[in-house]
Symmetry: C2
Subunit: 215 residues, 2 copies
Amino acid sequence: MNKSTKTKISNAVIKRLPRYRRYLKELQRKGVDKISSGELGVLIGYTASQIRQDLNNFGGFGQQGYGYNVNSLYNEISAILGLDKAYKIVIIGAGNLGQAIANYTSYFKAGFVVCGIFEVNPRLIGLKINDIEVMDYEKLVSYVEENQIDMGIICTYKDSAQDVADKLSFAGVKGIWNFAPVDIEVPERVALENVHLSDSLHSLAYYINKNQKKE
Amino acid sequence: MNKSTKTKISNAVIKRLPRYRRYLKELQRKGVDKISSGELGVLIGYTASQIRQDLNNFGGFGQQGYGYNVNSLYNEISAILGLDKAYKIVIIGAGNLGQAIANYTSYFKAGFVVCGIFEVNPRLIGLKINDIEVMDYEKLVSYVEENQIDMGIICTYKDSAQDVADKLSFAGVKGIWNFAPVDIEVPERVALENVHLSDSLHSLAYYINKNQKKE
DNA sequence: TTAAATTATTAACTAATGTAACAAAAATAA
DNA sequence: TTATTTTTGTTACATTAGTTAATAATTTAA
C-alpha cells in the first residue's frame, strides 16, 4: 500500500516539496551525491526532524547511517509532484501577463507545453507569440476537448475569469492556474492554484509600513 | 492606544485583508452602503465570527445593530494595508516578466509608481517600456538612494537575485517583491514578499495528479 | 565486532485557527 | 418613551495543523 493513500498529506508539506526540489537540484549541480537531513536542514533552514517527517509522508527515501542520495531523492520528489510527465497547456488572455507567462512557461519549464493562446481581441487573433498561435476565444472549448489539454492558465481581467474557468472545466482540463485577481469556483475534480499578484503586493505594502513602526 | 500595537497580528489575518478589500470594492461598485458580518461571510465564504474577529484586530469599525459601512470599512482596510500612500518602485530585469510587471503595476495599481527599470543587457538599456526608462544596472544603488525609492521588484534570473537584493537593501528600500525562483536573504528591516511562480506551478501539478487518484 | 551515524516512526508539544457564546450597544418599531 | 430586534465586540473554548523531540532500528565504517 502506498503511503500517500493512507493519510492525508498536509498542504504545508506539499508547498515545501518544490522548495526541497530546488535545493536538491542545486546540490546535484554541484556534484554532491549524498546528504543527511541535518545538512539539508542547515541549507534550507528547516529542522532535520521536519525534513525527515516531510519525506516520510511519501515513503522512506533515506537510509539509516547513510542519509539521502541526492539524485534519487530529486527524482522521487519530481515524481511525487508529477514532474516526470508532460502537460499540455492553453493560456487565456494574450495581454502583457499572458505573453510573459507564455514565454516563461515554454522557455523554462520543461514538461509544460503551451499549445495555444486564446483571446477575444480580434487584433491579436492570428498572431504568433513565441511560435504559439493566438486563437479566437470562441474556439477554446473545442480546442481543449480535441487536443486533450491538461491545464489552463487564466490571464484575463477579473470580469471574464469565471467564464473562462467554467469553459475550461467543462472542456475537461485537470487544473487551472489563475492570475486574475478574483476568486473563482471550479468543480472539485479540477485543481486550482491562484496567483493573486495584487494581494501579494498589498500585503507587502502592509509589511513595509509595519516594519517602520518598528515593533 | 492603537490596538495593532497591543498584540501581534497573525499572518493569516494580513493575508485575508486584501481579500476583504476586493469584496468591499465590489460592493462599493454595486452601490451597497452597509453590510453585516453575516452577509459578508456568505459572500466571501468565511464565518461571520471570523470576519468580526479579523476586523477587531485593528479596532471596532462596525456598529452594533447596524453592521459595517462599506465605504469606510474599505478605506480603513486600505489604510491598514498602507494603500493610502504612494510607493516609488524600481524593477530589476527588463525581460518578459519585468516588462509585464512594469505594465501591470503602472496601469492597474494606483499608488505604485514604477520610476525605472534596470538591466545589465546593453541592448535594452536606453529603451522605454511603457514610458519608463530602462537604465544600466550599475546605476541602481545611486538611483535608489537619490530618488528615495521605496520598493524593488526582482525580475532577474535566480543567480543574480541575491546580488540585486543586497544592492536594494543597501540602498535603502523598505520592501522587495521577488519573482526570481530562489530564496533570498534580506535584513530584518526590509520586508520581503516572494512570488515563486515555479513552486506554484509545481504544486498545481501535484494536485492535478492527486485528484486523478481520486481519493 | 563494536561504535558512530543517521533514518523511520511514534509521541509530545506548540501555535494557529476557527467557532461559539453572550453581554453591550445601536437601531427600529410600537 | 420603551421594548424588541439586530448586530457588533470580546472572551472563552475547541479543533486542527504544524513542529519538534525522543527513540528504536538499520547501516556504515573502523
